[in-house]
Symmetry: C3
Subunit: 353 residues, 3 copies
């Protein structure tokens, strides 16, 4: 792996960026970031995973980001911080993310004359922006993004190629949508009419609040009436499904292939593992963690770590799955016990007779 050098700097500048302390020469020259086993003398490296600590001694990096407790144990300039992982993210952003340069409405983009386009926006070739739509200052639409009429994209948003935002949906500021994602598709609502199904118009909207990120090929359906909402700071991985009128709280993480059925409300700071799911019309509290493939079929209170289908406390689930693997053996044991009891009964009746 080789990261392009965009900038060069010194250890002291990076320490200020991450609000960390320095052990060693603050003027150490740094031109990039690399993993412990790959970094050279002009690169900074990082120890965020304690398992890799054994790599420290052989590391050739110009400096290393480590927790303060490691000061004095490594013969290298160190950047000391309580959260090396966060510092790594900030330093990587410094070196690897190019500054955004606006390109305006590019040739091949179709922007409706009644759309409102902010300053410093880029609308790439193949994008279509409908009547009454608004694109906020500093937002970047990659090629072939479709913004339906009357939708609002906030400031400094980043929409990747082939994203669809349906009519009247609202994106806050700094929202990121990965490619192929659909915001505001019709919810799955049909009324049986005696022989088939009559489509219930889905006339609500989707609101993605500030700093929400949604992965590739996700589907966040609009409300039937009212709003499907993802609150500030929540991050959603790829191929995730949110049904109509779902509400997700702040700073949640939804890992890939999660499905949340219609009208369910999730609290703040929840984490849903990959392929987990919640049935419709339920309420999940704050600080709830659902393990991968977990299935929630009832309301769930706050501050719990759950797993299984239906979900149970994670520890219980570990015991239960362990017990399940012993089931065939246990079945044989129960048969043996039965035979022994029959034998005991036989003996007893012999004794009595």
């Amino acid at each position: 792996m080789s990261l392009e050098r965009r900038k060069t700097t010194t250890l002291s500048v990076l320490a200020e960026l991450v609000e960390g302390d320095i052990s060693g020469d603050p003027s150490t020259f740094i031109s990039g970031l690399a993993p412990l086993d790959q970094a050279g003398p002009e690169q900074i490296s990082f120890l965020s995973n304690p398992k890799l600590r054994s790599q420290l001694s052989a590391c050739r990096a110009g400096a290393i980001i480590v927790p303060p407790a490691l000061q004095g144990t490594v013969d290298r300039p160190l950047l000391l911080t309580e959260n090396p992982y966060l510092a790594f993210a900030k330093v990587l952003t410094f070196f690897a993310v190019p500054a955004y340069v606006s390109q305006g409405v590019m040739p091949g983009a179709q922007v409706h004359p009644e759309a409102l386009i902010g300053d410093d926006v880029t609308i790439s070739a193949g994008c279509v922006v409908g009547a009454g739509a608004r694109i906020g200052k500093g937002s970047l639409l990659h090629p072939n993004v479709v913004i339906y009429p009357e939708s609002v994209v906030g400031e400094d948003c980043l929409l990747h190629a082939n994203v669809t935002v349906r009519e009247k949906c609202v994106l806050g500021n700094r929202v990121i949508l990965q490619s192929g994602t659909v915001i505001g598709g019709d919810g799955f609502g049909f009324a049986p009419d005696g022989h088939g199904y009559f489509k219930i118009p889905q006339v609500g909207i989707v609101v993605l609040e500030d700093d929400v990120e949604v992965g590739s090929c996700c589907c966040i359906d609009r409300g039937t009436l009212g709003v499907t909402r993802v609150a500030r700071g929540t991050k959603i991985d790829n191929l995730v499904q949110l049904g109509h009128n779902v509400e997700i709280g702040e700073d949640c993480l939804l890992v890939s292939q999660v499905g949340i059925a219609g009208s369910t409300r999730i609290g703040n700071h929840c984490i849903f593992g990959g392929q987990s799911a919640v049935a419709g019309h339920l309420k999940v509290g704050d600080n709830v963690t659902i393990a991968g493939r977990g299935g929630v079929t009832n309301d769930v209170g706050s501050n719990q770590s759950l797993a299984g289908l239906p979900v149970m406390p994670h520890r219980e689930w570990l015991k239960t799955t362990m017990a399940v693997t012993h089931l065939p053996e246990m079945r044989r044991e129960v048969k043996r016990l039965k035979q022994q009891i029959d034998e005991l009964n036989r003996k007893l009746s012999e004794d009595e007779s």
Copy 2:
């Protein structure tokens, strides 16, 4: 939530629309629809969920859609109908769905000169329609839809942005495709050739019959030979996978993230819960319901409600999952019984000796 007023009308017009009866003033003026707790005196509301019945007394709506049994219990003009949910859907359609206005082939669309385009069609910017494709009367293609050569889109279809319809596939009338969906992608077919895999050409097609709706980011693969078919009236939610040569019957509901493997045939009026799946080359009868996350690994006869992996009758599944949660306890119990039996045996041999 506030729905735009598109039209104003009277209670009697709406009663005719839904074939219901009126209790109260038929000339009551109605300009929109809203939930029970939000409706004002110019709006009609509805009681489709019996749990919300307590909201009726405080409801300020100009009229309320209720089942006939509630006549006389609410001091409001009522629209009486056996199916309030269906009536709600019809009234919402009346107020909230704008009449379609054709815009023809719009600037930025690429329609092949040998494509056949019906009357009153809209083909939006960024759409590409291939040679020999046919787009039926009244159909609307949102931006960036791609129709491959020789495909057929019926009349009054609605294809949302970024949909792909591959070559020679056939859509009936009033078919709705949500954004990002792919109709007629290659099926997953490869022949082992001793070292790797040789691609089996997928030269069949997909047929979606009249009134089929498919959600966002779904994948319905074309047949290897022959047809992958979704029959009339079936509704499919988001992120659903149908393998090559699958056949789905009429008026089925497939909830989000369902996967149906190749060559499997599903009957009419089936319901598949979210994330459920059926293995390949199986047959499922009519009126079968599979609970969310259910996994079908064998043929299934008609008129059943199943759950679990592999599926079993739903009631049995409830008992089984309940029993599973008691497994660790049961395991301890079996150990205790074993000890007691050992003790009994010991005593008996003592008695005998």
Copy 3:
């Protein structure tokens, strides 16, 4: 089903194509391929599924592809080969796959002047190819494909409509991407910063080696640093998720809706059934088969067939799921045993007293 006649040929030409032997007249005229129950006297048919053997006697095909053991049992010209399924694939390719005709950069495509476009390429309407991207000789991009800057598409690749390939990603030769798929989306990486999440830039790439095929609406995320890699010959079905820095070996099959979490490494010749999943940072050996819906939560050695959540040997899983269905009955049995033991204890103490 009727396949278009593109070519006509003789049995001897087809025998040479599939390296098979002929029983009957080598000059038999063949103009297409059809299943056993549909083929007419100018078509060749095939027996790849032994269950269909009973259809052989009534088959009206001009010739039939069968294994050598069947020579003499059918009164038709035969094409004899040890691998009829592979022969079927090759003959179908011969008849049904039209030769590729390059159309160059088509009207409505946007190719950056600093992109490098090889000979015999087709770049369809609505495609956008960024600065510094390279499209290899003979590759075909269907409409609305987006290639970000500095990406490389190899020779003879086939990218279907609405595909996205992000910056700097690398596709080998003969790579096929079905519609809607996203190569190189940002991985799901965020560092907690005390109140919310700080985005970790995803500055690695994706490499898809030669002869890889990826289905519709798949998401293969770029590495955080370094590479997400799918090795030569591996085939991926629809709606599959590969997290950042995943590595998949050669000649694997990943069936629909599989999810592989970040940094996990899979060996060669593995098969993952539909909806199966692997947790992050794990290692799976060569020749491993995971049944549909299987969930891998620990490292897995080579040459195993596993199922369940967490996975166990497939045979064990069959026994275990069978035992689970007997659980409610077993629970009742344990209760009965307990009562009998209590009764025995009561009797014994009576006897003793």
